[in-house]
């Protein structure tokens, strides 16, 4: 198709303001949609991060003690009795005591060093505590080494600082501490003077928190063989037999209250399955993604409608000229091509300006709001979307223009 660009430019010069406004609108739309897409993709990536937990079958009980001031030994006896009862539930596969769980939304983390007197920490790890049932209950994949032995598990009272001599770490932590990949059997220090030797490696294991500050430590976690017998309360993590999650969640509190009534399990959110836990911890991310999605769709729709409106107006204004061109031998598809090219020229100007705006806005949010830097792929995708949107929006009015009969040339208004 032989398209003459010069006549289009000449015609556009007569509609400077309108042309400029469409280009500006496309630029603004591109700037906003790129950044919105970037935020959406970033947050959705967060949402789909794997925790390493068998989420379909695992639930967590937040068990607070009703009678405070119990000694650690008393608490430990109760915890062991509770665990026995939970493991014997018909619908339960296994249970473990814990001081926190993946995706809890924050919790215990320690700095990790290679030597006890190191002043700047090597990295940071989420700290989990549990017994020899921890890995099995969560359904973690042990990729190297072994599980804890029952006799390795120690008792930790309220605010008691105990550093076990063994630990199971996540592969991400093992690789960070020992990049050569021979972490098994090596030791590290986690804010204590005694080292912990790595006896097992699991992969993956998400941290407890999802805050932005911990992004640099993603997936870094360690498990210590400890029963956290805090006088305030404890988490019981329970894994149900496949397909029996609801039954297990119903049975568990009954079994615990049968053990002792002096406990508080919040009727509202004392027992949560992993779908709920995941939903809660990513509330913010999902919400922002939805909001950005709504804004993008509204913006694209309004921009498309605006282009349709203005192009229709221009077509209406130029019916006579179109008629003349048709009378002089222009084919329908020449007229169609004319309007599509015209829109392409305007859109191209808009997206160039828009790309600059998009990058500038992103860089500004990086410095002002601790956002991440946007990859150029988003700008590319946005440019493509807007060019297609422009062509699509122009198509209907342009088609109408192409159907203008040559007779129009002979009619006066």
């Amino acid at each position: 198709m032989n398209i003459q660009i010069r006549p289009i430019l000449t015609a556009l010069r007569r509609h400077k303001a309108g042309t400029l406004l469409i280009a500006l609108q496309i630029a603004l739309t591109l700037a906003i949609v790129c950044n919105a897409l970037f935020i959406i993709h970033q947050r959705l990536t967060n949402l789909s991060v794997t925790s390493g937990v068998d989420e379909a079958n695992v639930f967590v009980i937040a068990n607070m003690w009703g009678d405070v001031g119990q000694s650690t030994a008393q608490v430990d006896a109760q915890v062991r009795a509770d665990l026995l009862a939970l493991r014997q539930l018909p619908a339960a596969l296994d249970a473990t005591p814990a001081s926190g769980y993946p995706l809890r939304g924050g919790g215990w983390d320690n700095f990790v060093t290679m030597t006890p007197d190191q002043t700047k920490p090597t990295t940071d790890a989420a700290v989990y505590t549990g017994d020899e049932h921890f890995i099995g209950t969560l359904g973690l994949r042990l990729v190297a080494g072994r599980n804890f032995h029952p006799d390795e598990v120690m008792v930790m009272g309220t605010q008691q600082a105990i550093t076990p001599s063994t630990a199971i770490v996540s592969k991400a932590l093992a690789d960070r501490l020992f990049p050569d990949g021979n972490a098994l059997g090596k030791s590290f220090y986690a804010m204590g003077t005694t080292p912990s030797t790595i006896v097992g490696i699991v992969d993956p294991l998400h941290r407890q928190g999802v805050d932005q500050w911990s992004n640099g430590y993603a997936g870094q976690a360690l498990i210590w063989p400890l029963r956290a017998d805090d006088s305030r309360g404890i988490y019981y993590i329970v894994r149900a037999k496949p397909g029996q999650l609801a039954d297990a969640m119903r049975e568990a509190p009954k079994a615990l209250y049968a053990q002792s009534r002096l406990r508080i399990i919040d009727p509202k959110d004392g027992i949560q399955d992993y779908a709920t836990i995941r939903h809660k911890v990513y509330d913010r991310d999902r919400g922002l993604a939805i909001l950005m999605g709504i804004i993008s769709v509204v913006l694209l729709a309004i921009t498309a409608a605006g282009i349709v409106g203005l192009t229709s107006f221009w077509v209406g204004q130029r019916r006579k000229q179109i008629g003349v061109r048709r009378a002089l031998g222009a084919r329908q598809r020449d007229i169609l091509a004319y309007f599509l090219t015209e829109n392409f020229l305007i859109s191209a100007t808009g997206v160039v300006l828009g790309a600059v705006l998009a990058i500038a806005f992103n860089l500004w949010t990086v410095t002002r709001f601790e956002m991440d830097r946007m990859s150029m792929a988003y700008v590319g995708a946005g440019v493509l979307v807007l060019l297609l949107l422009g062509q699509g929006a122009t198509f209907a009015p342009a088609l109408r223009a192409s159907r203008v009969s040559p007779v129009e040339a002979t009619r006066s208004v």
């Binding site: 919105a36 003690w65 600082a161 305030r232 922002l288 913006l299 309004i302 605006g306 409106g309």
Partner: protein, 438 residues
């Protein structure tokens, strides 16, 4: 004349219903998105205690040294027991209180009921007058109660409702963690957002209610453990809650009322003096690195307003701007299509001003309609904001009279601004040229 312009405008808008609807929709959506995100932003960035926030200060003492500082050189954002107790003992501000979060169990008198778990804070007596905490019955406790570690408690009206059916319970007893406490005061509804006295533990906003307040030293004496964050630069040497008190771990929030600039300067000097003493005694191996921020700067420093909220507002304002550009383009097309009509009016003697008035009225009508649609959508937006934002924040956003007025004003003014250039172009139409070509 205005009535005539209104009639002209309505007739013109009716002539191209599609274009009119598009403009109204654009303005409506643009305004509604901006106003919804604004209502959230307004709610979270509000001053929780506007009459006093400039007198409330949060001291920070660097008891960790250079290795414990973040990349920004900031000292810890909470206090260790040692520092908090020293500051309370020296009592250099007019009013001050150390505080920590507690989560005790309350055992109902009725033995058939399960114990319930409540949240609250262990504070000093000056906490209540310092923060102008409103009481329904009774009052806070006295300094003597602080010193004697008295078993007294201030409870929320909600807990009072639950335990005493809402009657005046001052003088009655509540079983907290297995021990009897005498109720000295019942709070009136008091749920400041953000929870400014302890933003480190509440994250700023909280859907929960503070149900109990007990004397700080009493809570320490009976070993009521800290339910908030504990941050340590090293593992405490001793175990248990007592070990935590002897450690350099930070877990206590602190607030002081300083009424004038002189008091602020004096307090800052006092903090630095304390840190210098610690340096000389060898406990701190570094120069003083303290902070003393007033409440608004403290909330800002702790990023109480989530950056997500700010980004949402900005993106929504961007949407409004794009909608306005869209409206300008459409108005331009609409107005210039009527060049012939304008030519006739001008030829018949209408001054440019009259053309201005006529088309700005038309833009105004579009703006008003867009504003009304925007009002409706803002209502829907604010009502459903809980669907996309965390509940603790969403619960704060509400539609009130000022938001309604603002929505309409923004819609009308913005649309008239958008109509300014098209109107200018319309007023420049040459009557002679139009009449000739027709």
């Amino acid at each position: 004349m205005l009535a005539y312009y209104l009639e002209l405008a309505l007739r013109s808008l009716k002539r191209s219903p599609g274009l009119t609807a598009l403009m109204v929709l654009a303005i409506g959506f643009g305004v509604a998105a901006s106003m919804t995100t604004w209502s959230v932003f307004r709610a979270v960035s509000g001053d929780p205690i506007p009459w006093k926030s400039a007198q409330l200060f949060v001291p920070q003492i660097d008891n960790w040294g250079p290795n414990g500082r973040g990349s920004d050189g900031e000292p810890p954002n909470a206090m260790s027991y040692n520092e908090a107790i020293t500051l309370m003992r020296d009592h250099r501000a007019r009013l001050q209180s150390a505080m920590y979060q507690i989560s005790p169990s309350i055992v109902p008198a009725d033995a058939s009921k399960h114990p319930i778990n409540v949240s609250g804070h262990a504070v000093y007596s000056e906490f209540f007058p310092m923060l102008d905490v409103p009481f329904l019955f009774g009052s806070g406790w006295s300094a003597a109660d602080d010193a004697q570690r008295a078993a007294v408690v201030v409870i929320s009206s909600k807990l009072n409702q639950k335990l005493f059916g809402g009657s005046n319970s001052v003088g009655r007893t509540v079983n907290v963690e297995g021990k009897d406490y005498r109720v000295v005061g019942v709070l009136n509804d008091w749920n400041p957002q953000p929870r400014f006295f302890d933003v480190v533990n509440s994250g700023g906003f909280s859907t929960g209610v503070e149900d109990v307040f007990v004397p700080f030293q009493r809570a320490i004496a009976v070993g009521m453990p800290n339910d908030g964050n504990t941050n340590c630069n090293a593992v405490p040497a001793e175990s248990g809650f007592v070990g935590l008190q002897h450690s350099a771990c930070v877990w206590i929030a602190y607030m002081a009322e300083l009424d004038d600039a002189a008091a602020v300067t004096a307090y800052k000097q006092y903090l630095d003096g304390y840190a210098r003493d610690m340096q000389q005694s060898g406990r701190f191996g570094w120069a003083p690195n303290n902070r003393l921020r007033d409440l608004p700067s403290w909330l800002d420093n702790q990023h109480v307003v989530p950056s997500d909220t700010k980004v949402s507002l900005l993106v929504a304002l961007g949407l409004l701007l794009a909608c306005l550009v869209n409206t300008t383009g459409l108005l331009l097309a609409k107005f210039l299509r009527r060049s012939g009509e304008i030519g006739v009016r001008r030829a018949l003697g209408a001054p440019r001003l009259a053309i201005y008035a006529q088309f700005l009225v038309e833009a105004g009508i579009v703006g008003l309609s867009g504003g009304l649609l925007g009002l409706l959508l803002t209502g829907v937006g604010v009502a459903s904001v809980g669907w996309v934002l965390p509940k603790d924040i969403a619960a704060l956003a509400r539609v009130d009279f000022s938001l309604l007025v603002l929505t309409l004003l923004v819609a009308v003014i913005a649309t008239m601004l958008a109509g300014l250039y098209p109107t200018f172009r319309a007023s420049r139409v040459q009557p002679a040229w139009q009449l000739k070509s027709n």
